[in-house]
């Protein structure tokens, strides 16, 4: 891959990251309410009111009187050098709180991703084995229903059935592995639905390729064709799609965490937003956005490197047609 186009990509990535931080900062800047008051309340939780001098002091300390662009540059400077600030609510460094909560979300997302992918792989393999058979129809129905299922409602149904009626599993909270089962199942259903649909399409596409017929004529067994060729062929586009679905997975995790009253980044974001803990909110949104942008850029670069056809501006188009599939 030419260095020039790689550099252009990187410049584009930097421009986007700058745009992202500008949007987030503008949002918090425009948000109503006195930020000095929010900080004061967090610092002195028991106080009823604050002297104007104290609020003025806080404004000086956090540069709240400075014009917009100075505040933005000040914040961006801190952010780039790894100084993410202190949480208004607890006074602890934002980074530490983030790390404390990251594990919870990562566990949920990984568990759901694994469960969902395995289910999708099994289901789509069985489906393409007999196209039009009852497993295939079931797979299509499950994929359609899963895409239309509101995650929070599925969560409520699972709680109602497994926790309230059968009393097998705990409904709310975090801690033990039993607490993970229902949330992970909720999220895994969504993963399974979206991946079954894609894998089925990609496998059928692979079966339609001419070299499969050639292999058959040479006497290669159906089993080997499937395991060594179809599966491998379908896995490349599917992997790309998993990268793109990461945003959906994070979003799903947020909803599921809040539905099941679990700890994690979703609960942290909702709590911080309601508590007007601006440094925490800004950092979390930046995290989600930067993670998403970076992952997609890496995928595009890898795609360019692997597949020369996508180089001439076709990567976006190829992914789009894949996303619609």
């Amino acid at each position: 891959m030419p260095v020039r186009s790689l550099l252009l990509r990187l410049a584009g990535l930097l421009a986007v990251l700058f745009g992202v931080s500008l949007i987030i900062f503008t949002l918090t800047y425009l948000a109503p309410g006195d930020k000095a008051m929010a900080i004061a309340h967090a610092r002195y939780p028991d106080a009823m009111g604050f002297a104007p001098e104290i609020l003025e002091g806080i404004r000086q300390e956090f540069h709240l009187n400075a014009p917009f662009h100075m505040q933005f540059l000040h914040w961006l400077g801190g952010f780039v050098t790894g100084d993410f600030g202190l949480s208004y609510a607890s006074g602890a460094p934002v980074w530490d709180i983030f790390i404390d909560n990251l594990g919870e979300t990562a566990t949920l997302a990984l568990a759901a991703l694994t469960l969902g992918l395995v289910a999708a792989l099994v289901l789509s393999s069985l489906a393409v084995w007999h196209v039009g058979g009852w497993v295939d129809r079931l797979a299509i129905i499950l994929a359609s229903v899963g895409a239309a299922m509101p995650g929070f409602w599925l969560g409520l149904l699972l709680i109602l059935f497994f926790a309230a009626q059968l009393n097998w599993l705990p409904a709310y909270g975090t801690g033990t592995a039993a607490h993970l089962v229902l949330p992970a199942l909720t999220l895994a259903f969504w993963v399974m639905a979206s991946q079954t649909r894609l894998l089925r399409t990609f496998m059928l596409e692979a079966y339609g390729l001419p070299f499969i017929e050639t292999l058959r004529l040479r006497g290669v067994s159906e089993r080997e064709i499937f395991l060594r060729h179809v599966l491998r062929h379908a896995s490349i586009p599917a992997l790309t799609m998993i990268g793109l679905d990461l945003a959906g997975l994070l979003e799903g995790a947020v909803i599921v965490e809040l539905t099941f009253s679990r700890g994690g980044l979703g609960a942290l974001l909702a709590g911080s937003v309601l508590a007007r803990d601006f440094p925490m909110v800004v950092f979390l949104v930046m995290f989600f956005a930067v993670a998403y942008v970076t992952i997609n850029s890496v995928i595009e670069i890898v795609q360019d490197a692997v597949d020369p056809r996508s180089r001439a501006g076709g990567a976006a188009a190829a992914r789009k047609s894949g996303a619609q599939a």
Binding site: V16, A148, F152, L156, G248, V281, K320
Partner: protein
Amino acid sequence: MQTATATAAPGWAPVSAMRLFLRRLGVVLAAGGLVALAGFWLTPYAPGGADFLNRLSPPGRAHWFGTDQLGRDIATRILYGGLWSLGLAFIVVTVGAVFGTLVGLVASRGGRVLDYALMRTTDSFFAFPELIAAVTVAGLFGPGTFNLMLALILVSWMKFARLVRSLSLSLAQRDFITQAQLNGLPEWRILWHHYLPNIAPGVLVLWTNSWSRTILAISGLSFLGFGVQPPNAEWGAMLLDGKAHMQTAPHIMIFPGLAVLSAVLAINLVGDRLRDLLAEQHQP
């Protein structure tokens, strides 16, 4: 429209399949609309009408879907909730589609510098996962219907901008566009008569897709308390409202969720069919 028929001429049969599908869809929509209208007309209950003597009563003849914790008729509330859930999502997606289409057209027709600037802006907005952006905006600016819509519009237009830009760039290579330019047609007429009719089908497919996604987002955010607030009868808000009573009276949480699921499923199925028919048209 002469361009549309000219480009689609080799595939006459698929066009009529599309016509047939659209006609059937129209009939189904009209029938559904009539049933809903009849429901609004015939229901003896108001969506906010509390009846404390009939709290949490199970589905029966008087209340088809039962009543909630305030004795309100759930079937009536679901009917009115459809206006909230489907209507709000409809507005959000339509505003996003129009804005995104404009951005995409300007980016593809307005020169390289404008294109680069607009597309990097689009990418920047794309970076925000919908729900996270919506939770943040709705939370910081105050939970409520207006801020929810604002937040969702803010993150809804980029897909349209990207799609329209790529469609328009490939259209620019076509002979009939060059012909129109050589004939000295003004730019706005080329855009209106040649670009829009050819871009519209793709935008329509994305529009249905985004509509169902937005319904899910609105009900989800309302359920979490960041969207439409109870006592308004939005489907997600109804679930939030009844969550405390779901163990004693499961019926109050079954029907609103079922409403979301079936609405989204129906829209998705229509969208898929439209997409398949359009794909057939393009490669007859």
